[in-house]
């Protein structure tokens, strides 16, 4: 699929995100490129296109092929890819973001936030909730983007590609309507729901 657009992100003059372009890329390419960030260089083939996320995926049977639309995305800056994410529908009403990776030298520039906003914007409004699993160290960041920890969900263990080590992750959710409402309320509200790029 082509998203049919190359979206300039951000409006602040001079910001890196102003020169960002977003592309859907082939899954094989996507996982080869994110594997080093996952410490899975030697096990690229183990990066599956979909993961269930502890019961997130509501589709089953042939729906897994026919109805789930997996969109691997990358952000390019001046022709070089510097960030990746992927997004897919877990039901007819909700989405999952899987992996948000920004090269270390480009972090804290709004790149990830812009890429995520673009990924979500690709989907119709009826997909009203967006889920992700956040490492505990990133919870504050995603809160600033408008995500909240799903009520009743606690941090849980998670195997990573880092020598089979474990990290704690927790499920977070973004309500698109609430985020939009906050955005419409004005720039001052972005502190509460700043997932939309200014």
């Amino acid at each position: 699929m082509s998203t049919g657009q190359e979206t300039p992100a951000g409006a602040r003059p001079g910001a890196a995100r102003e020169r960002l372009r977003f592309h859907e890329i082939d899954f094989e390419l996507w996982r080869r490129e994110i594997a080093p960030l996952w410490h899975m260089e030697g096990a690229v083939h183990l990066v599956a296109p979909l993961v269930n996320g502890y019961g997130q995926l509501q589709y089953c049977g042939r729906e897994i092929h026919a109805r789930v639309r997996h969109v691997p995305l990358a952000a390019e800056l001046d022709g070089t890819r510097i960030a990746w994410t992927s997004i897919y529908n877990i039901s007819d009403e909700a989405l999952r973001l899987r992996g948000i990776y920004v090269l270390p030298e480009w972090r804290s520039n709004g790149v990830g936030r812009s890429l995520v906003a673009h990924a979500i914007s690709l989907w119709p409004r009826r997909f009203g909730r967006v889920f992700l699993y956040a490492r505990l160290g990133n919870v504050g960041r995603y809160r600033r983007w408008g995500f909240e920890i799903v009520p009743g969900h606690l941090p849980r263990s998670h195997r990573t590609g880092i020598e089979g080590g474990q990290e704690r992750i927790v499920q977070m959710m973004l309500r698109r309507a609430a985020a939009d409402e906050a955005d419409r309320a004005g720039a001052h509200a972005r502190g509460a729901a700043p997932w939309l790029p200014p």
Partner: protein
């Protein structure tokens, strides 16, 4: 068996001539084999057409139906409950069958005394090992116990009933490593890709037989899910707290279900019939080698129970569809055809 990967398109199943109650596939192809690690593995259950009659009765009905299609059958017993129950029922039901039992390096469970003719295969572990690694590479299987069932089936001289399969349930809300209830209950039926490796192998080898007797009819699947043991498991999982922690999977419930249906059945899973610690350790190492022989084929498919139960004509317990409330609903059932994402009531298009 060739060590090469099986062809994507496998021959039709034997016995043929019936609508399958259980399907598996990769991406858009049903009853196929994996061509790429990026393919999505799925399983699907046909809807029930009548109320089930209980596990024991549905198991017997399925066995009679299968035997009628196979003509005569060899029950390849690897120590599991499927083969043992089938071997116990066959003479009572007048089915033309015999038992094939397995001994590895002189060990293994004795041939069950069921009144059926029996023959025993004596094999060395190295033979099992060679077969298992070939199965892993060709059909995608990282489980040595599944390979043991397949190994037994590979020695059959008649159409074979493999001693294989289980209906495994799981509560996603449990973090078993931390030993905590990490989220509200989210119950699903788990199908590991390796569970159907034997199906792929049978087809590729053009061997008449069946590896999924427990999934032979929708009513048999329904009877297992609706058994008192599994209902009790679901109630414990939904209760939260300590009961839920003890009910991460339905492992204990599966055993209770078998024992209730077939009193006297000693082993609810094949590995229980092979108690030798040295043998078990070798099997554990073999599983690891199998996974390494073909990595990327260890995927799982989860069918949310709140979607499966109504399909099988079963009541959904209160609280079971909480994850649907959170994660959203699916508007089109698997049987009514696959719509494209975005072809919704709103007319909006997905990306």
């Amino acid at each position: 068996m060739s060590a090469a990967t099986l062809p994507a398109a496998l021959p039709p199943p034997e016995p043929a001539g019936r609508a399958p109650a259980f399907l598996f596939g990769f991406d858009g192809e049903a009853f196929a084999s994996r061509r790429s690690p990026a393919q999505r593995y799925w399983t699907e259950y046909a809807p029930a057409s009548r109320a089930h009659r209980g596990f024991a009765a549905e198991f017997a009905l399925a066995l009679v139906d299968l035997a009628g299609r196979l003509g005569r059958m060899e029950i390849a017993w690897a120590g599991g409950p499927v083969g043992l129950a089938a071997a116990a029922l066959a003479p009572r039901l007048g089915l033309p069958a015999r038992v094939l039992s397995l001994s590895i390096d002189g060990g293994g469970p004795p041939t069950p005394m069921t009144g059926l003719p029996a023959r025993r295969i004596e094999a060395r572990f190295e033979e099992l090992e060679g077969f298992a690694l070939g199965l892993a590479r060709a059909a995608g299987c990282g489980n040595a116990w599944a390979a043991l069932s397949a190994f037994a089936a590979s020695h059959a001289q008649w159409p074979v009933l493999a001693d294989h399969g289980e209906v495994r349930l799981l509560n996603h809300g449990i973090d078993e490593r931390l030993g905590i209830v990490a989220a509200p209950a989210s119950l699903a039926l788990v199908d590991n890709e390796g569970f159907t490796a034997l199906d792929r192998w049978l087809r590729a080898e053009r061997r008449p037989g069946e590896a999924q007797l427990l999934r032979w009819t929708p009513e048999l699947v329904a009877a297992q899910l609706d058994s008192p043991a599994n209902r009790g498991w679901a109630a414990a999982a939904l209760a939260g707290g300590a009961p839920a922690l003890r009910a991460w999977t339905n492992h204990a419930a599966r055993g209770a279900m078998w024992r209730r249906a077939f009193p006297g059945l000693r082993h609810a899973e094949p590995r229980a019939a092979w108690p030798d610690p040295a043998f078990r350790a070798r099997m554990q190492r073999l599983s690891l080698r199998m996974r390494r022989a073909r990595p990327g084929c260890a995927t799982q498919h989860f069918t949310p129970l709140h979607r499966l139960l109504p399909r099988l004509g079963l009541e959904v317990p209160p609280g079971l569809d909480e994850d649907a409330r959170l994660y959203g609903r699916v508007g089109v059932s698997p049987t009514t055809g696959a719509g494209e994402p975005g072809s919704s009531r709103t007319g909006e298009e997905a990306p």
